[in-house]
């Protein structure tokens, strides 16, 4: 396994994805009308996609194992991996939390909460920082919310619990 590079794994994932989508394309209903059945175009794309993925796999296999110097700074241990990806993972998780809280707290409160938590997770939890983050979150999301609701007359979701 050490002889494989990371592109090989990506190519295998792409081929699997292509297989699943090709299989799903057989669930597309064919109507009695129209010249171009709705499954044809996706299948054309998937055929090209599959061929390109095979070329990518062959190229990657030919290249041999990754050069340890090719990705400087990338982690090799589990803890290193967690540290390396910590910030993006925090962004994903807090954005997911924001979306889950949206129906309950509404766009204004959940948006402020999201920005505050995200900034604090990325920038630190010292009392001074928390204060700055709270002000930034309230001003940015509050300002944007006002602009959209009052200035552009866009209806933003209200929360079941908060009513705003």
């Amino acid at each position: 396994m050490d002889r494989l590079n990371r592109d090989v794994y990506v190519a295998v994932v792409l081929l699997l994805f292509c297989g699943v989508m090709l299989w799903a394309s057989f669930d597309i209903r064919e109507p009695d009308y129209g010249v171009l059945p709705p499954s044809i175009w996706p299948r054309v794309i998937l055929t090209v996609f599959g061929l390109l993925s095979v070329i990518y796999l062959v190229q990657s296999l030919k290249r041999g194992p990754d050069d340890p110097q090719a990705f400087p700074g990338e982690p090799t241990t589990v803890m290193g991996w967690v540290r390396y990806w910590w910030n993006p993972v925090i962004c994903f998780v807090s954005f997911c939390g924001y979306l889950l809280l949206l129906p309950w707290l509404g766009m204004l409160i959940s948006g402020m909460l999201f920005v505050f938590v995200l900034l604090s997770a990325l920038g630190g939890w010292s009392p001074r920082r928390l204060g700055i983050h709270a002000v930034v979150a309230a001003a940015s999301v509050g300002g944007m919310w006002l602009l959209f609701t009052q200035g552009l007359n866009v209806l933003l979701p209200t929360g079941e619990l908060t009513g705003i």
Binding site: R6, P38, P42, L52, N87, F95, L152
Partner: protein, 559 residues
């Protein structure tokens, strides 16, 4: 009739609300373009939600303003910190930063600002004159030709990934595939919905664009905890006063550089896929080759700032020519502009200028006016830029992520779009990490429908597939698509493999065939000229004994 339309367009643009929005747009673009890590496309795509509730003329004028501001903003960071604000101003740092460090930051900024202005003006003039002409050519296109034009746009964009062209093509195919999810537009059948109501609606393509481009970029910007907590001003003192008069005098002396670089910019912009990131390097390279003192390049020579800055501003005029005349976006930013037109129910095509003249002229006028506003605002924005550079990167990223949420929701008032934003943000981040270029995927998402609809139309007219190779325009696009797909291999093998000696002549011979087939007088004449060029290159190679010449050039790569 034209005057009436122009007057109506002026009426829209000179409206006080539109003017204020344009000033705000240029200012926002200047700041967004100046911050490294925030691309112009990101600034333009984030403007989309604001324009949704505006009339099309006003919305488009605002977006054009952000675009023009963004194109000029990159130079501030590039010259003062040596870190280009956008990929379009990479070459500006080669001479801008040394000049600023050499004690002339004001002159360097002045040269950048005024070169941007003249580049924008030249490209605006060409936009107004060339777009209607190209639209006339576009009227000849039938569905087969359009389908092939889209394929060409995708392959040439993928080819900018250089030696990673396979990854570029995979990204393009993935973009096309994403657009097939949901009900198909031709007959309304569900595709890849996996029994989910949400997937049946398909992915909102603006949410996809913001996710792929803005969300993933922000995740990238904060990936490294140390740099996320630093600000740009930590990297050096950022203080300067723009020297306008001195800069204009230098530019007047080197006006040829401005004209040549602007033309390079416009024609790079016209080519689908090739954006400012390519044009600024090309223009710098050409300025260096044409200079009497090429050795001064890289040490702070004025031409080294003028060439990239005039070309990168000229690019968007070129990209808008293709967008407005053919409905095909010239680059990612133009793809976002296409999205803006689509949310206002305007579908660009060769008949766009004829059918929506007021909107078309509004875009032209906005482009001109925004360039003037850019000059007015540069000095003021430099002070704001100094303030913004004190803000830590993670704060900027967090605030913009919060805005992404509100903005995406505001477009359709559908909460599911926010999940689309998240998933495509993750996908874009992962793709960036594994070296897949995002530009072909974005073009694939934007052009997927156009390709499928034209394929369906072609099949409805005639099921004979040979039309794709017997119709001159279709064959023309097919040939240049194949040669552009092979270009990265040619570039890497150039000077090493014998077959590369035949690449250019073969391309000339092949392209001349559809040109001959088009009939009339000018096009066969052009075909003859192309044929002669091919034969001449072949003759030179034969005379040189088929020897391989060493090649030392800049590798062109889309960021």
């Amino acid at each position: 009739m034209i005057l009436e339309n122009v007057a109506a367009a002026f009426g829209h643009i000179l409206h006080i609300k539109t003017l204020i929005l344009m000033f705000v747009g240029v200012a926002g673009g200047l700041i967004a373009g100046a911050i490294p890590g925030f691309t112009i496309a990101m600034a333009v795509v984030l403007t989309l939600p604001f324009t949704f509730s505006m009339p099309p003329e006003q919305g488009l004028a605002t977006m054009v303003s952000v675009l023009v501001g963004g194109l000029s903003g990159g130079l501030m960071a590039g010259i003062l910190t040596g870190i280009p604000g956008t990929p379009s101003s990479v070459a500006t740092t080669f001479d801008g930063f040394p000049m600023a460090r050499g004690g002339k930051p004001g002159l360097a900024l002045g040269l950048g600002v005024w070169s941007s202005f003249f580049g924008g003006m030249i490209s605006a003039v060409l936009l107004v004159t060339l777009a209607p002409q190209l639209a006339r050519v576009g009227l000849e296109f039938q569905p087969w030709d359009y389908f092939m034009l889209v394929m060409f746009a995708l392959t040439i964009t993928a080819s900018l990934a250089g030696k990673d062209i396979v990854k570029g093509l995979i990204a393009g195919a993935l973009g096309l595939l994403v657009r097939t999810v949901g009900e198909d537009e031709a007959v309304g059948m569900a595709r890849f919905d996996f029994g989910s109501e949400a997937l049946l609606q398909g992915f909102d393509f603006i949410a996809v664009l913001i996710g792929l481009f803005a969300f993933s970029q922000l995740l990238n910007d904060v990936r490294d905890p140390a740099s996320a907590r630093t600000s740009l001003s930590d990297k050096g003192t950022i203080r300067a006063r723009i020297e306008h008069l001195a800069a204009i005098k230098v530019i007047a002396k080197h006006w040829v550089v401005i004209v040549r670089s602007s033309l390079i910019g416009v024609f790079t912009g016209i080519l689908p896929g090739a954006g400012g990131s390519v044009a600024n390097i090309l223009a710098y390279d050409q300025a260096k080759k044409a200079s009497k003192n090429p050795e001064r390049f890289g040490t702070g020579t004025p031409e080294g700032i003028m060439a990239p800055e005039s070309s990168n501003n000229a690019v968007e005029g070129g990209a808008l020519i293709t967008l407005m005349a053919l409905g095909i976006p010239g680059d990612v930013t133009a793809a976002v502009m296409l999205g803006a037109l689509l949310i206002h129910d305007v579908v660009p095509s060769p008949t766009f200028i004829a059918e929506r003249p007021v909107l078309a002229y509004s875009i032209f006028i906005a482009f001109f006016l925004a360039t003037f506003i850019m000059i007015l605002l540069q000095s003021g924005m430099l002070r704001v830029f100094v303030l913004v550079t004190r803000v830590r990167m993670y704060i900027l990223a967090g605030v913009i992520l919060g805005f992404c949420g509100i903005g995406v929701f505001a477009i359709n008032n559908v909460a599911l779009d926010l999940w689309t934003l998240l998933w495509f943000g993750i996908l874009g981040f992962v793709m960036r990490h594994f070296g897949f270029p995002l530009a072909p995927m974005i073009l694939g998402v934007v052009l997927g429908n156009i390709a499928e609809l034209n394929l369906a139309r072609a099949m409805a007219i005639d099921t004979d597939l040979t039309h794709f190779v017997t119709r001159p325009w279709s064959l023309f696009f097919l040939i240049i698509a194949l040669f552009s797909a092979a270009f990265p291999w040619f570039q890497s093998a150039r000077g090493k493999k014998k077959w590369t000696l035949f690449y250019m002549p073969a391309a000339c011979f092949a392209v001349s065939v559809p040109l001959f087939m088009m009939g009339g007088i000018p096009r066969p004449l052009l075909a003859g000229a192309v044929l002669v060029v091919g034969a001449w290159v072949l003759y030179q190679r034969w005379k040189g004994g088929w020897t391989l010449a060493a090649y030392n050039g800049h590798e062109l790569k889309e960021d």
